[in-house]
C-alpha cells in the first residue's frame, strides 16, 4: 500500500519535472539555421561538388584511373590547327586537347581520390553542396567547353589522323618487306 502511494506520487512528481523542463525551453533561443535565408559556414576544405579547371587539364587521365566508381570520363584528341593551346598555370605545355571531360556527379563518392594524383591541380573538391536537379542526366557535368558539333569535328579529325598513321605504317611495312 505504501509502495502504491509512493509510486503514484513519483509518477506525478516526475511528470511535473518533465513539464518544467519543456516549459523552460520556451525561453531558450531557437537553434535553427533558417536555411534559404542564412546558411552554415562550411569548412573551405570540405569535400562536396567536384570542379575541374578545364584550361589546366593536360588529359593525362590520372583522375579517371584513380576513381573507385569510374564516374570520370575523359576523351582526348590531337589539337586542331585552330586551337592554340596555352600552357597550364604550372607551366606545362598542353600537347593534347581534352575534347570531353564528364563527371557523373550522381555516382561520385566525394572521396577526393581523384584530386591527389592530378599533376596540374586542376580537379578539386569545392564546398558547394547545392546542385539538386530535376533530371538525372543534368547531373552528368561536362567540363570541356565544346558543343557536340565541335566534339564530332574533333573526333573525325582524330580518326583521320589515325587512318593516316595506319596507312603510313602499312606503306612502311611494305617497304621493309
Amino acid at each position: 500500500m505504501k509502495n502504491y502511494f509512493i509510486n503514484v506520487w513519483n509518477a506525478f512528481y516526475t511528470a511535473l519535472v518533465g513539464l518544467k523542463v519543456t516549459f523552460l525551453h520556451l525561453f531558450i533561443k531557437s537553434v535553427t539555421v533558417k536555411y534559404p535565408l542564412e546558411r552554415d559556414k562550411v569548412p573551405a576544405n570540405s569535400r562536396m561538388k567536384l570542379e575541374v579547371d578545364w584550361a589546366d587539364c593536360i588529359g593525362c587521365k590520372a583522375c579517371e584511373r584513380a576513381c573507385p566508381v569510374q564516374c570520370i570520363h575523359i576523351d582526348t584528341s590531337k589539337a586542331l590547327p585552330e586551337d592554340n593551346l596555352a600552357a597550364t598555370k604550372n607551366g606545362t605545355a598542353r600537347k593534347l586537347l581534352v575534347s570531353n571531360f564528364t563527371i557523373d556527379l550522381s555516382e561520385c563518392l566525394y572521396c577526393a581520390l581523384c584530386v591527389y594524383p592530378c599533376p596540374e591541380d586542376c580537379i578539386n573538391m569545392t564546398p558547394n553542396y547545392e546542385f539538386g536537379k530535376y533530371d538525372r542526366k543534368l547531373l552528368i557535368e561536362q567540363f570541356a567547353p565544346f558543343s557536340d558539333d565541335d566534339r564530332a569535328k574533333r573526333q573525325a579529325f582524330e580518326e583521320e589522323l589515325k587512318k593516316k598513321k595506319l596507312a603510313e605504317k602499312a606503306v612502311k611495312t611494305k617497304e621493309k618487306e
Partner: protein, 176 residues
C-alpha cells in the same frame, strides 16, 4: 531557379483568367504543405533525420512526417535501394494518393552510386521503379542540400496547373 524554368515549360492553357489564378493559389498552397513519408535505407537516412531535427527543421517548410503513405504527398527515398527493398518502395508509392512526389536523396538512390558497376543486389537508380521529381546528389548530402531539394520541389509544384489540366481533359483532351 533557371534550372526549374528550363525543365518545366509552362503548359499552354486557354481556360480563362479565373481558373488560372485559382490554380496558382491552389498550387502555392500545395507547395507549402508537403507531408512526407520517410523511407530511410542507409546512411543518407541519418542525414534525413538530422534535417527533420531542430537544427534544420523540415517543419519550417510545412513538411510534416506521416507514418502512413495514404496521407503523404512526398516520399524521401534516401539510401541504397536494394532489389529486395525496391519492391516495397513501389508498393508504398502506389499507396500514396495523387498528386504525389518523390525525392531521391544521395548517390545510391539516384543511380546506384558506388554500387553502380558491381553491385549485384542494388537497383541502379530509384527512378527505374518510381518517377523521381528532384534528385539531391551527395554521398550523403548535407541537410541543407535536402532542404534545397524541397525548395526545388516547391518551385516545381507552384508551376503545376492541376485544375486547368482536369477541365481541359474533361472538355475533350485539349492537353494533347
Amino acid at each position: 531557379m533557371s534550372e526549374a524554368q528550363r525543365i518545366i515549360t509552362p503548359r499552354g492553357h486557354q481556360d480563362g483568367i479565373i481558373l488560372a489564378k485559382l490554380d496558382e493559389v491552389l498550387s502555392l498552397a500545395r507547395s507549402h504543405s508537403q507531408w512526407y513519408l520517410q523511407f530511410g535505407l542507409a546512411c543518407c537516412a541519418i542525414e534525413m533525420m538530422a534535417t527533420a531535427a531542430s537544427r534544420y527543421d523540415l517543419d519550417r517548410f510545412g513538411a510534416m512526417p506521416r507514418a502512413t503513405p495514404r496521407q503523404a504527398d512526398l516520399i524521401f527515398v534516401s539510401g541504397t535501394v536494394t532489389l529486395k527493398m525496391a519492391e516495397k518502395i513501389k508498393v508504398l508509392w502506389e499507396q500514396m494518393p495523387a498528386p504525389k512526389y518523390a525525392i531521391a536523396m544521395g548517390s545510391c538512390a539516384i543511380s546506384g552510386g558506388p554500387y553502380s558497376r558491381h553491385g549485384y543486389s542494388v537497383l541502379k537508380g530509384v527512378d527505374l521503379i518510381i518517377p523521381v521529381d528532384v534528385y539531391v546528389p551527395g554521398c550523403p548530402p548535407r541537410p541543407e542540400a535536402l532542404l534545397e531539394g524541397l525548395v526545388l520541389l516547391a518551385e516545381k509544384v507552384k508551376k503545376e496547373k492541376l485544375l486547368s489540366q482536369k477541365f481541359s481533359k474533361k472538355r475533350g483532351g485539349a492537353e494533347k
